[in-house]
Symmetry: C2
Subunit: 299 residues, 2 copies
């Protein structure tokens, strides 16, 4: 089934206790689509500036990511610089230059409007709603959001939620949105706001799924080699959505397997800087780690 | 197989955002042994003061916990008062009166020296070593420890570790002991200090096991009803050790199942104040939740 992602494409400068990467390819749509490319050919919608090099275009091409939805505009590509703290769980944004992303209003190529699986990466709820308005008849729409939108555009977000099949957000964001301090209650409360299912991301502690099927929990895959956590959440989303799009059967039950795939690709992402580890992995390696993860969870 | 626990018996006054309990039965050995009583008849070694009421003795008796190792001494029973913060993940100790526990040097009844499964609940490494010195030929010895001993008696702890089969400690304590900030590295590093396996407790995020068998992760059972986290760690230990003692086969592989049991009983513990929920549960309910947990983790 066709899979569409709308999100950011960026240059990231990343400092972690393990090293530094300068102006590497980043952004939610980049992580999502490179992960998804190991399962299917994802449709990418995003914007870059005049400074976006051929080298990164080549990376997308190499991963069978069609470029019809990649808009190039006058100005600079979105730039982010961040530094992770010693525990790798928190980070400080050192610089942010929105560039062409600042006034980006995604317009879907006509041929993308029939996409069946849609991931609305983190952006304003109004922008996310604007993408949905352009869709013909999607089967499964999942959005990511963050504390900034919960605080600044809560009304727009609450209007969007009933239009979603799934919402992904961090544990702290679910507590902020719901006012609950217990994660299980928070997940149920967010789900009551409209989305059919809710995925709470807990970083190195894994994730929780709230659906008709009850509560499902996945621990993170325990990798000893965490170089750079950037993109783990978007990789997780890419693994989930690609797995769902490829499986193509009824949702019920598939979400667990999809979350396991998401967990496994996120663990690969953090093992090297930027997209490096994802670019150098294969579906065979992903499936091999999935099997190790499955064995790890059985008792 | 015979199961022995040496630890504290206490009165706890507990304040949480969900309520308050005054001078209820608590202490590591109480939680451990009541949990274990749902699987086997655990041998308890601990000390209480003159103020320890018949009512609590009756609770132990009702749970088939023999009282031969329960010492009664002049003075007061260990008293602890604590208040949990809004997120229930951290707490402040408001009062602590060690009472008869202050100078407690456990002396095992002669008939307990042949115990095969031994849990040394949190106390000084010297006290824990002193118990081991009294054992004939235990099959499996697991100890708990805490930051206080890592900071104040590290040498004694390092001497104890190679005598242990397993060590249980919190994630932050494993990082403190090993100097590693990545949990997976920390677990491996602590294991390299001597114990055959290491269990890292992550509270509401579950636990990790490091053994010959590799790394195994369990998420916490996602209960929506967290009233009082006190005793969750000792209940977890009780479930693990009782499961191992009852299974009585080779260790390899059994630890995963034991950790699942530990997880499930810990989730019961937190659902009511003090020992209430544990006293009112049954092996059937525990097994029922284990099954739900198993289904939750399958994909």
């Amino acid at each position: 089934m066709s899979l569409l992602v709308v999100g950011s494409i960026a240059f990231d400068t990343i400092q972690t206790p393990r090293g530094r990467a300068e102006r590497v390819l980043g952004g939610s749509a980049s992580y999502f689509s490179v992960v998804a490319s190991h399962f299917t050919s994802p449709r990418l919608v995003g914007v870059v500036g005049e400074d976006f090099p051929e080298e990164h275009i080549a990376t997308f091409k190499k991963h069978n990511i069609p470029l019809e939805g990649l808009e190039r505009k006058p100005g600079n590509t979105f730039f982010w610089e961040g530094e992770y703290h010693a525990d790798l769980n928190s980070r400080t944004t050192k610089a942010i230059q929105l560039g062409v992303f600042e006034h980006f209003t995604p317009v879907l190529p006509a041929s993308y409007r029939d996409s069946k699986y849609v991931f609305l990466a983190n952006s304003s709820p109004e922008t996310q709603a604007g993408v949905l308005d352009q869709m013909d008849n999607p089967e499964l729409v999942v959005a990511d959001t963050m504390d900034f939108w919960i605080q600044s555009q809560k009304d727009a977000l609450l209007k969007l939620l009933p239009r979603l099949d799934g919402l992904m957000l961090n544990d702290s964001e679910a507590m902020l949105l719901s006012g609950e301090t217990n994660l299980v209650r928070a997940g149920h409360a967010v789900r009551a706001m409209g989305p059919k299912f809710v995925i709470l991301k807990k970083g190195e502690h894994g994730a929780m799924l709230f659906s008709d099927d009850g509560v499902f929990v996945v621990p993170a895959y325990p990798t000893a080699k965490v170089e750079d956590p950037t993109g783990a959440g978007d990789s997780f989303a890419g693994g989930i959505m690609a797995c769902l799009a490829v499986d193509g059967t009824h949702l019920h039950g598939r979400l667990r397997r999809a979350m396991a795939y998401g967990t496994v690709v996120a663990s690969l992402t953090v093992e090297d800087f930027g997209l490096s580890r994802l670019i150098n992995t294969s579906r065979a390696e992903i499936d091999h780690r999935l099997q190790a993860y499955r064995e790890m969870l059985s008792f």
